[in-house]
Point group: C2
Chain length 231, copies 2
């Protein structure tokens, strides 16, 4: 809140005092997605300054929504977790996300492309089940981006560990995915599919993994919800 609160006893107003402050809902989304460490949270809100992140964490802690605990054995390292109260904020985050998915025009969302953010999200929701029972390495190349942010590697180790690298980890690559960032983002958001965009995606390497791409790609938690906003 800018300066003071709303001075209303209404639960909507009281909740909004805590929740409707810059970055807070986006940060809570990261918590709902199970990030617990400062720098993991940061990756989910890269445009937020660490100072502000730190401040928000303190505010959420004071509000009883988040609790901070030192990690046993590791000095100076903390984990942040939703409290019981905080866990129930999932309903608010989901309501907001669902509404956004339905009513925000796609072209507005797609103005905010960000390859690291996309990859970070993909890492989170990737579904390893359709992949082979051995390590799979998938390299993403986003055409047209500066070389610093063009390439990413997803390293999937059974049963379900997924690592994301932005520099070549040196493993043999099973599948190369070359496409543009906008297309990949639209797929992740459920606005289109791998099959529909076939001509914009070049898949090189394992035919098997390529054919199952739509299956192992984790999509956004809101991808299943159809758009209602005008295109």
């Amino acid at each position: 809140m800018t300066q003071t609160g709303y001075r209303q006893f209404c639960p909507v107003a009281m909740a909004a005092e805590i929740l409707c402050t810059r970055w807070t809902m986006v940060l809570l989304r990261e918590f709902v997605a199970d990030s617990t460490r400062f720098n993991d949270l940061r990756r989910g809100v890269p445009k937020m300054s660490p100072t502000l992140l730190s401040q928000r964490l303190k505010e959420l802690e004071a509000a009883g929504v988040v609790e901070r605990r030192g990690v046993a054995g590791e000095k100076g390292i903390s984990e942040y977790r939703l409290t019981e109260s905080g866990k129930e904020l999932r309903a608010v985050v989901e309501a907001m996300g669902l509404w956004g998915q339905r009513w925000i025009e796609a072209r507005l969302s797609l103005k905010n492309l960000d390859p690291s953010l996309l990859m970070w999200d993909m890492r989170r929701n990737l579904n390893p089940t359709p992949l082979p029972q051995r390590r799979s390495v998938i390299q993403f190349m986003f055409r047209g981006l500066p070389s610093a942010t063009r390439a990413y590697w997803l390293v999937v180790d059974p049963p379900g560990e997924v690592d994301l690298c932005s520099t070549d980890p040196g493993f043999d690559v099973d599948l190369y995915v070359s496409t543009d960032l906008r297309t990949m983002t639209a797929i992740w958001m459920g606005l289109t599919t791998v099959a529909k965009e076939g001509d914009k995606i070049v898949l090189t390497g394992s035919r098997d993994i390529a054919d199952k791409m739509q299956a192992w790609l984790g999509l956004s938690p809101f991808a299943a919800e159809p758009k209602r906003a005008a295109a």
Copy 2:
């Protein structure tokens, strides 16, 4: 939003850009409660300046959440209504209110007492059914408040028109309710009941109307939800 948006394609972030700006959720609550006129909206957000209200209305209109229409026959008068998209924000408002009701400590909410706001809310949700089939006039007196904000009259005309006055409308009063603002607010919020607070409420006049008070009093839409926060 303070300055620019979040630059994230995520629907939660896109929605939060529109919704998580000062006063916006509280204002939307007014829309969900069916207020349509500028000054009615204002009564629900009395601490919001008319300038800011006007600005928010424009923003919500631009976001496609609210539409403004002139009232036929009355020049210079507009009504604001939720669009189809806006109506679906009820889910967000309700999720937030539900969470607030469950997790905000009662003593925090009860720091924000406001008699006009309470009466305005009561007017909205009053249930005329248990009242007699003729006009009923109920006067509320809040002990300890300055005389300007101490007395209110609810005038209920069957079948369901409810008027709120802050100056004596001159009708015969059927029931006088004398209590303190905190108690009345707690009852409205569902934190206690008329029966439990019997010794703090003095009811004078119609025995019949007095006995049914808990029934005709409309409570907050969230009153049924039990608190989970520590007392």
